[in-house]
């Protein structure tokens, strides 16, 4: 294998990085643009939701009634909580407090895990009762939106995991370090949360549910 330490200038493992202050600006702007991309990505699904709900209100009312508001509600609270601990983590990073940063990140990760467990129970119940993506349009929309959201939760967990490992090493709190990573990770996690905040009322509360 090639020894990356001998890599020529301007290659992947050997290029001149911008100083941390500039990198911080870059990452934040980059993430905001990426969030705009994500919004449009889900936007397509939301558009489909509204079109189908408008065309087939009774299918959506019936489908929505099958969903369990309790599970959905708990998950909303769990996700909101994890968003809160994420915000606290960003705050800790800004104050360069290593320990709190680490534990708030772990708490966020824990929230994400709890969300997954509840989602698993919920999905399992639906599938056992014979509600599958092809059952009707409501469940098509339900599984597509929550499924895509789930993928985003998993990606978010991967990044939070990365942040935890690095926070432990002090990468964000040491002298002269940049906490851009935590901030950017936080932005992403808030987006995951916000999308759920939209999904919950649209799927669980509107139409049919009491």
């Amino acid at each position: 294998m090639f020894d990356h330490s001998k890599a020529p200038d301007g290659t992947f493992f050997n290029f001149h990085k911008e100083p941390p202050v500039r990198a911080y600006e870059f990452f934040k702007l980059g993430m905001w643009i990426f969030l705009a991309t994500e919004v449009l990505f889900f936007g397509g699904l939301f558009a489909a939701y509204f079109i189908f709900k408008y065309t087939w209100p009774e299918v959506f009312a019936k489908g929505s009634a099958e969903l369990d508001v309790v599970y959905g509600g708990i998950n909303t609270i769990v996700l909101l909580g994890s968003s809160y601990t994420m915000a606290l983590a960003v705050d800790a990073a800004q104050r360069k407090q290593k320990k709190p940063l680490f534990w708030f990140l772990v708490a966020t990760f824990g929230g994400a895990c709890l969300f997954l467990v509840i989602k698993y129970i919920e999905w399992k119940g639906k599938i056992e009762h014979g509600f599958l993506p092809g059952t009707d349009l409501f469940f098509g929309v339900y599984f597509m939106t929550t499924g895509l959201h789930l993928i985003h939760v998993l990606i978010g967990m991967y990044f939070i995991g990365l942040l935890i490992v690095r926070a432990k090493k002090g990468r964000y709190t040491d002298e002269g370090s940049s906490h851009a990573g935590v901030e950017v990770g936080g932005l992403y996690w808030h987006l995951v949360d916000i999308i759920w905040i939209f999904l919950f009322p649209l799927l669980y509360l509107l139409g049919g549910n009491h």
């Binding site: 020529p8 290029f15 643009i33 705009a36 299918v59 092809g134």
Partner: protein, 536 residues
Amino acid sequence: MSHENTEYRPYLEPKGFYAWFWTVDHKRIGLMYLYAILFFFLLAGLCALGVRAELFYPKTQFVDHHGYNVLFTLHGTMMVFLFIVPGIPATLGNFLLPLMIGAKDVAFPRLNILSFWVYLLGAAVVVFSLIGPPGSAWLDTGWTFYTPYSIDSSTGVIPVTLGAFILGFASILTGMNFIVTIHKMRAPGMTWHRMPLFVWSLYSSSLIQVLATPVVAITLGLLIMERMLGIGFFDAGLGGDPILFENMFWFYSHPVVYIMILPAMGVVAEILPVFAKKPIFGYRAIAYSSLAIALVSFFVWGHHLFVSGMSEWSRWIFSLLTFAVAIPTAIKVFNWIGTLYKGSVLLDSPMLYACGFIFLFTIAGLTGLPLATLATDVHLHDTYFVVAHFHYTMQGGTVVALVGGLHFWWPKMYGRMYNETIAKVGFWTLFVGFNATFIPQFVMGYQGMPRRYADYLGEFHDMHFLSSVGSMVNGLAYFLIFGNLIWAVYKGKRAAANPYNSLSLEWQTPSPPPLTNFDEVPTVTDWTYGYGSKQA
């Protein structure tokens, strides 16, 4: 950056696989993108010649109906997703953007090379699944994957759309990178209104890349899910709506037309002032019209659905909005022409391409008018008139600008000059061949010849024959043009740092530039187009 006077080393110097594959240098990435897209341009172009060859005469010549459908699907899919969408931004844009704004590289160099790898992966997935495993039927849905045909089709729709999905990420990464670079990395003194217009056009097209690509990603994702799980979104049987796919698809695929053409317009705006030795006419009008086009492009997709059974009032609105996009486009054309007024016009090959672009683009734009008009579009929709119209924008516009831009910046990219005479012959061959191919298509389109027909009625034979003859000349021109350019890389005369006396920053550094572009970060004190009396 380096304060000690380091020795000049052109960026092309470290050779070998590692130095290329792992590079994060925007210039090398631009070149690698260029080689890749030109390879697919060749493949897709050969498919186009296959299509035209089959249409020399009615009935079947050498491919049956399915074979013909496969050919135009291959042509369209590869041209759109693998060649023209990355097209100018990923090649010239990557190479020039940091140079033009006085930066060392783009904002995220590693993301930049990642984008190229993702592109290669997506391209591989697309090409291998277009062809499919031996014995299976090749993809025949057309590049638009319209449902329900694409749901019923027994060909490799899932892997091809997956490939297009992956390619979307490459596009988003490039767009995001460019926006951050333009916002954050301009050299001291490089204000927004001093930026070269090519940078403005890249900025506008990057906005579309970032905002429109995710919509096609979700659309293709849903198509895959429809085929795998039967979610019913596009299935009339489950209450879904096949037309929804068309709406979502064109929500991306119309703006994407402007991803293709905006950078081409930017290239032309760079070439004109240099070869007319004059300030660009109406700088702000051109810059803002790029943004206006980007904005309006999101609200015109419905004109692809004028005869799709869409509600009558939405056709009305989309027609009106479509006309809105004509205004900024017209403003650009007038300003380009105005740039030549009282200039000192040198008609070398890059300038020929730029002026040729204006000529062809006026045809492209004006033939859009009857397509935006409700009454006339009903007749022209999905005929060869449309085929000719968009080839005038895509080939007559984007490809001509790309080739012109390559001629213009070739000395900067490789430090060598091509043969000017052959370049001029190449341009005129292309110009004649291209018009000979597509003018007959306008005629037969108006006469009612539908597109995507493997066989046609005898009354259309003359026009098809002319078009096919033209296409062969058109194809030949590219061999001449690219043969000349490739020859230049190895044998061409050494080029000076600034052979055209351009004021733009990319020419104020050696040809080819060093790895970090500039020995010292330049400070900008004037706009890019201060030609005219100052110089004369």
